[in-house]
Subunit: 289 residues, 4 copies
């Protein structure tokens, strides 16, 4: 029987009898002529619920209310793209000139949405949750936000979701917060995450002496938290949204043509700052030739 | 100046002056406080158009009509998942147990949606286009479909988009065709691709002596063709849709736990059918030790 | 000028004048007719140094001694493969049946070598370094190993690099340690990492009451540490080595044929344990059709 | 039982009884305490054969002669890197600033080595094979090369493996050809692929009126063909070699620091050439807020 070292072995084992349980899922059940997603017949879902509703159903197990589905859709619309200088987009555009499929170009772009490039929304959801946790200990929201921010700044940690390099106000953030407010009016969300987000912004402003307004990551974090998503899925939802931009840019690049497009025009050389020319030491005998 | 061999060089060169044109796009324009997608201010799009409308705008440059947006959304809902035994889904689930981010697990799954696993819809759109091209030469739709199918079968080519292993009828296909019919009633589509699809099904049935009903690939190909997408984007739209299933399964697996989950339970050994045990030839001196 | 939100912006900015410094490297310098790696002319390196020597030069900036190069090569040989049930290998094999290029199949497999699947060697190098750090505080090697292991076990942490599920002794580990011993005799390495590795094994044995012998991750960690690689490159070297297995298996699968090969035979169904069949709620109007 | 549509189903089915054959391999056999690669005990291979020998054994099933192993190693040394402006390298460097693992950065870079960026060597091997096929029909080598080149140029096809943008002579090509010549002297190779390569260069020169010297792709194609590799593996061997450069650059970038590094300095804006600013049409009701 094949063996697998500690670093390569699954935690649990099955037997031939239980092989069918090696892959188990609550998401989809398929029989001849029948495909059910979370219990619903696929043909009843198609054309009946919206795409964001389907995203919700797949990830959460239940359908959202129409208002929840609309709010999720708005956040998915908001984060699709921020231009070809983002490494995820640039990667997909370059890949599109290298002779790979559109799926491969998209995969390469998505693969770059790591903790630093794609993780700020998830981290911001964790920040809001940390403030909420302090509140359950009896602290006021403002106090909880101040203490959480103070603790993070003392640890010299980055505060995700706030501040912007050039935008005085991120046009996406205000719009998303207005939609959350409207959804709260409809009873679709409680508005607590939005309130925490504003409290964090105030606490940051007080500490920094200037306003660091909520950015797209902070605002989508509000939406996803209001809708009850765990922070790990906040990351996934951002990836799904940005996938649209990645696809659009990869496609646009493929229509523009070009082969093996590098990151900068060849007329802009890179800088070499390494060793000066030198011969290979004599101890390597060159026995190849 | 760095040089690049033929296999590694961009086709066109720029100069420092034209460096800004190395990356050019019609998709998005960004200025301080302003993000415009295809000319529209992002804050006007968020909460106003649906996510499928945004997908359309990003890919096509113009907004769809609401009816077109709904039909696109229906196709995106239809193709999200077909269970954990598909290699794309299994790959993402396995990756989720290997200590990578959700974006990396999604990328690995998406990367597998190649010509064979993710390309049938694109290929089927090309098939419909080939039938349409024969029609522009004055042939009837039925005749064009018959000739195209006959030519492909003679070349022993696979006919994408039709036939199913177990499903007597793919429940997704009929529903999508009904939606196209309804959209035709609204004037949102012409219905020509749907008619071609049915003609191809008839031609196949006549040649095979049994009905090979349209499957999900054939039906989404109808929808995307009706909506005017080029076939290459048909591939991308399938990838976007299936990304939802890939994310949901990777997330579910991460919640189930497990480390370095292999394709089958360890109790099911793989079969080795290679060389018998043998010593390393003496000509390799083992100078390492 | 395009703007980039905090989560998407490079830390440092350049100007047109300094654009050439945006990409800077000490690795390679290229001029018409000239390619120099770390100062050496490529044509002097080809056929003169071995491939592991080149790996070392690229990563470290200087050539290894021949004995160092041989030891590195031995570790690269050791970790190439552990069978098709490892998710990295299975992923590449499945991808090879999905209509993507060999490079894409390799990328998908390599992408799965995350912290859990590919990180044990790196983590074990960090463990050895932690023991060495305790020694610089005046502690004996045995004491340092015992304290480090005790501290980790108290924190319920996994101890990387030791123990094996079935192998009484990992045949790769003993051989690699013997090569380190021989290299120490030649003066190529000090042997300290090997000694620490054995001390960790002893400390683990004492705590567990049974021997948990060093496995491939623990042994390659010894080799890479003896050779002075930082732990992050230990990860990279494992990836390079396993890439060979990933390529070989993807290629073998492509020669075996098969289309869209799933993780288990279709005759083994997966288990659905989700919601029972149910209709879509009436609040979704089905306005698509 | 789960079902899979035509586009998602494996070609062959197994049964529970034959599940162990779903994954079968001639590469590696593993038992408790025993790992055999192509029949050889792993502990006999480690420290005895070189890394290129192991690459050969994994891919081919038999060990090379030492001379063959050295020649393979020389080709692997030759192709490791061509600077940070190649999209594969740039992609990995950018990924290294996005918060993903080194394996993920390597995967993204490798994923870009598609038909255009990484396929020239494979295509050149096919070109040499096409010339050889014409020779088996009784044509002289020079005549076969001329006819093949003429046919391809008439079809306006790219001729892979020859010509260089700036290098008057690719310094890697001449060195590799000299090593093939030496290996021929040792009886390790026949020299036929090298002769065909030179004949192709002559034929191209005659047609173009100026010399298009063999480049790295043409020269590694000679080596891999001389050594009997199929062209598909020529692609894989290039990927393996370039993986070293991808790793070295990703690592160097991670040591340089930077977060979310884009393709060009932010001071170089991209060019937007799309629609002018415009409002969202009134038919989208903005029901989200």
């Amino acid at each position: 029987m094949p063996e697998i070292p500690f670093s390569e072995i699954p935690m649990s084992e099955g037997t031939i009898d239980s092989a069918a349980g090696w892959w188990r899922t609550s998401i989809i059940d398929i029989h001849p002529g029948s495909i059910r997603v979370r219990g619903y017949a696929i043909e009843e879902l198609i054309g009946t619920i919206g795409f964001p509703d389907m995203v919700w159903l797949m990830l959460r197990g239940e359908l959202p209310t129409p208002a929840q589905g609309r709010l999720l859709g708005a956040a998915l619309v908001a984060a699709v793209d921020h231009g070809p200088q983002a490494p995820s987009i640039a990667t997909a555009r370059m890949a599109a000139t290298c002779g790979v499929g559109l799926n491969n170009a998209m995969a390469s772009g998505i693969n770059a949405l790591g903790d630093v490039h794609g993780g700020a929304g998830q981290q911001c959801m964790d920040l809001y949750a940390a403030v909420a946790a302090r509140m359950t200990e009896g602290m006021s929201m403002a106090g909880a936000a101040e203490n959480e921010i103070a603790a993070r700044l003392e640890r010299r940690e980055h505060i995700p979701g706030f501040g912007h390099r050039f935008h005085p106000v991120d046009p996406r953030a205000g719009r998303l917060l207005a939609l959350v407010e409207a959804a709260k009016g409809e009873g679709a969300v409680t508005g607590e995450a939005a309130a925490i987000g504003r409290a964090v912004e105030d606490a940051l402003t007080a500490r920094k002496g200037k306003r660091l307004p909520m950015n797209i990551d902070g605002a989508t974090a509000v939406v996803f938290a209001e809708l009850g998503f765990p922070s790990g899925l906040g990351r996934g939802l951002f990836v799904l949204s940005r996938s649209v931009g990645i696809m659009a840019h990869a496609w646009e690049q493929s229509q523009q043509g070009g082969r093996i497009k590098g990151p900068m025009p060849p007329s802009i050389p890179y800088r070499y700052d390494g060793a000066s020319p030198r011969p290979v030491p004599a101890e390597f005998p060159g026995d190849g030739a």
